[in-house]
Amino acid sequence: MPGIYIHIPFCKQRCNYCNFHFSTQLQHTASFIDALKVEMALQRHYLPPGSVKTLYVGGGTPSILTPGQVRDIFSSLEATLEVDIRNMEEVTFEVNPDDISEAYLRELKDAGVKRLSIGIQSFKEADLRFMHRAHTMEQSQYAIEAAVSSGFDNVSIDLIYGIPGLSHEEWVAHIEKAVRFGITHISAYALTVEPRTLLEQQVRHQKVPPLDEEQAAVQFELLVRTLAAHGYEQYEISNFALPGHYAIHNTNYWKKEWYLGLGPSAHSFNGSSRQWNIANNALYSGSLLQRGKLQHETEQLTEADNWNEYVMTGIRTMWGLDLQYMNAHFRESFLEQLMKDIVPLQEKGWLESTSERIVLTLEGKLYADRIAGMLFV
């Protein structure tokens, strides 16, 4: 089930941990939208006609767009790519708490948005200030209430743990608060120091202590246990949902489905190659508007690349590595190697396998990258 991703490359300010592509020059929003429409036209045949089932508008911060701009983008998309947004299985829109009101959310709903993903990150004021978020704790709370009262029943929130000063008790309280609000989907991430972020500089200049891995590991386990107790499934390492509320669009990334990414820095995948647009708003828009050209790079994926990607993403999900799928898509020698490679990992208690699939244990989830690397060909 192919999907479309639209990247809205603007934010009001930079969060300290963030290395996503965006710009704070909001005055360029209009020309970006024009460029996006040119890109849609250029890429209209990327996915098979009539196949698209999900749309995801992410960023950056999509909620800096006015409802009019959202409608404009959606109608261009429908006209150019011949898709029917209202009939898609999932249409997700990312919002930040400081941008939204009940009225705004109603307009999104009218435009066809079915699912909200709210960048809450924390219910603690000090955390929000530390991470240089643009919103307050009250706004976080209000955002969730507004989402519910404007009629969204499919709401996801993002939460971050492992923040310096965030106690285990506070963390569990954040999780339980989300549960009490009736949130159906939670993406929870450990704070990490990514290259080229404000946080990295802060750590380098010793303004912030190096992150405490022990804290993050404990809070991860608390997260898993607390949400399990409330009936959430950990269907991917960082993603939890009440039954039936998995994020369809994101899940497709892990199943090697096709997707078209629009906007600067967005990635697309068509089964055999991956391409990504230039991560620069001015060059992206300039090239599309002045020369009708999309600046992007392409990478052809080999069978080994595809295997490695499937292992890396699949192992993180509760469905694990589907042996039948692997049998059908990859050469036998890869599978034979896999069967040898899993033995020591099973002995360590990191993996469990049945005749159908290989999944991570709770302990294994703490080392998913290392494990994936060991199963690469």
Binding site: S238, G261, D305, G373
Partner: protein
């Protein structure tokens, strides 16, 4: 014989020797422009990348001078201090040398050390200032330097550019006019000097020689005087761009001989070829059995691959006789080889050739020089120690000697201070300071070889902003306070990380090594203690905390490629890891000693 000219080009590295050689070949139509690859004389891949000439080659040029054809044999020489013996033998095969000096750099250390070798061999020197096309050319200054150095007249110096072709014709004429014709006699018993050999997978070893007296014909029974071995000359010929078979190579000329030898070790550069039928009893002087200067272990990453590695080492040795190796066992690394190299560059080349040409992934251990140890029991019996594990226990040890070298450094007067402190810090002794010209000073130090083999050259470059050049030659062995430093990982001694080191350095070295290992060892799920010890005494300690998690938070569309590549890279690195006890040790860690001051 009157129309033969044998010459070489001597120059400091990068002064444009290979480029000039190309131009000479092109100008004389030895190779057509179409065949012209840049720098035809350096034909190993590695050489081209590193931009140095590793193995000497020779090529014959026909040049028409005043209506008559002359045969020029151009003998190429290696340009790195690791290979100075080979240079000396190549020079011994010539009557003349083009002394090439970069117009913007002036005289450098190898210019001088090679010049001395050339003068030792009585070569006629034709001074050439090269790269005169460059903006930074300082022709008057460099002219003065050369005049001061060799005592020639300024008008003897040819101005040239291998790049733009200036002066090429002048050089070719000067060779005919100034380089003496060979002086040997066709009637004396045959003597031919071996100055190089190469391995050809189809023909075996091809030996390059220069006939001094007599001649060598196809079918002759020949004898190599120093090894005493006899062979039949299956083929002889001259060296064009390829091999050109001939019936006979006459007095004074340069050629090749193929005798079916399969192993490079049978052929010693500097040896003398004579005929069995009418042998010369005298070997040409200057023969040396080159000895390795630096020793290190080479181990297969997986111990199952030991036999395969042996095979590859043997093949490698077929065309690199200066590589020595013998089996070695390490508790940490299993079966491997203790190898001897001419220097660090040579070691690097061998490692790279193993990987590129033979597809072997290897772990190379900390290199060391060869020490002499004497025990209290037998005070006069020298034990050669090429491996820290061979050093006798302190309780049995009477004394240790370490090799010293004579280092020649040429620099600008401004940097004397920096160089003095660098060399004194490396236990060097200044023995001479000599102004070659008002702006070029030569410093001579006697130093332990151990102090210069590792990072000395890099340090020298950085403390002189590149304005220093360096050359060295072995001197002798001297009494020294050498001690063995061991490294323990979680209490377990890792023999492959042991090092032999001067006692005054031991503490500092141990501390730095532990710090470096802390950086290089990947974290594991348990704590790792790194300790440096001399005997039972721990002199330094570091710990690596346990890893609690190794998982990235997000993995959506945009992250997938980047993350895959990251993990693939880690996996590649893991292939070179060795499990020591419970600790995984990556290849770089074994060479940590080399990077201590990065």
């Amino acid at each position: 014989m009157k129309k033969i000219r044998n010459f070489c080009i001597i120059a400091h590295i990068d002064h444009g020797k290979s480029t000039l050689a190309d131009r000479l070949l092109e100008h004389t139509k030895t190779i057509s422009e179409r065949d012209m690859q840049n720098q035809v004389l350096d034909d190993m891949d590695l050489e081209r990348e590193k931009g140095i000439t590793i193995k000497s080659k020779a090529i014959q040029i026909t040049y028409n001078y005043k209506g008559e054809d002359y045969t020029y044999n151009l003998i190429d020489t290696p340009g790195h201090v690791d290979f100075s013996y080979e240079v000396s033998r190549a020079l011994a095969a010539c009557e003349g040398a083009l002394l090439l000096v970069d117009a913007s750099q002036g005289i450098q250390a190898q210019t001088i050390s090679n010049l001395y070798l050339a003068i030792d061999n009585d070569l006629e020197i034709i001074p050439v200032i090269n790269k005169v096309d460059m903006d930074g050319a300082m022709i008057p200054e460099v002219t003065d330097q050369i005049v001061d150095l060799i005592g020639c007249k300024p008008e003897d110096i040819i101005l040239a550019s291998g790049k733009s072709g200036i002066g090429i014709e002048d050089i070719l004429q000067a060779i005919a006019e100034r380089v003496p014709a060979p002086a040997g006699s066709p009637d004396l018993p045959t003597q031919a000097l071996i100055f190089d050999s190469v391995f050809n997978p189809f023909r075996g070893i091809i030996v390059y020689f220069r006939v001094l007296n007599g001649s060598i014909r196809k079918g002759d029974k020949v004898k190599f005087i120093n090894t005493g071995k006899e062979y039949e000359a299956d083929e002889v010929g001259s060296l064009g761009l390829g091999l050109i078979p001939r019936k006979e190579i006459l007095t004074g000329d340069v050629g090749y001989i193929i005798t079916g030898i399969k192993n490079a070790r049978e052929v010693k550069v500097g040896d003398t070829i004579t005929l069995v039928s009418n042998p010369s009893t005298e070997a040409i002087r200057g023969f040396e059995d080159v000895k390795p200067m630096v020793f290190a272990g080479i181990f297969p990453v997986s111990s199952d691959d030991f036999e395969e590695l042996r095979d590859c080492m043997e093949k490698l040795q077929l065309n690199d006789a200066s590589l020595t190796f013998e089996p070695e066992t390490s508790q940490a690394l299993g079966f491997g080889f203790r190898c001897g190299f001419l220097g660090m560059l040579h070691m690097e080349i061998i490692q790279e050739r193993l990987e590129r040409e033979f597809n072997q992934t290897v772990i190379t251990t900390v290199p060391n020089v060869s020490f002499h140890a004497y025990t209290t029991r037998e005070k006069d019996v020298k034990i050669i120690v090429n491996n820290p594990s061979e050093m006798p226990e302190p309780s049995r040890l009477d004394r240790v000697e370490e090799p010293f070298i004579r280092a020649q450094i040429i620099t600008l007067p401004d940097y004397i201070g920096n160089i003095m402190s660098l060399c004194l810090n490396k236990r060097g002794i200044l023995v001479n300071q000599n102004y070659l010209t008002p702006t070029r000073v030569e410093l001579i130090f006697e130093m332990p070889l151990a102090e210069i083999v590792f990072d000395f050259y890099d340090k020298l470059k950085s403390s002189t902003r590149g304005y220093a050049s360096f050359d060295y030659h072995p001197l002798d062995y001297r009494l020294s306070d050498i001690t063995k430093m061991d490294i323990l990982l979680n209490g377990e001694q890792v023999d492959a990380l042991s090092a032999l080191i001067h006692r005054s350095r031991a503490h500092d070295f141990g501390r730095k090594l532990c710090e470096k290992l802390k950086e290089l060892l990947p974290r594991q799920q348990f704590m790792i203690a790194i300790q440096a010890a001399i005997g039972a005494k721990i002199v330094a300690r570091e710990t690596i905390s346990a890893m609690r998690k190794d998982v990235t938070a997000k993995c959506y569309g945009g992250d997938i490629s980047r993350k895959r590549k990251l993990l693939e890279k880690q996996k590649e690195g893991k292939k070179r890891m060795r499990q020591i006890g419970s600790v995984e040790v990556p290849q770089e860690a074994f060479l940590a000693v080399l990077k201590l001051n990065d």
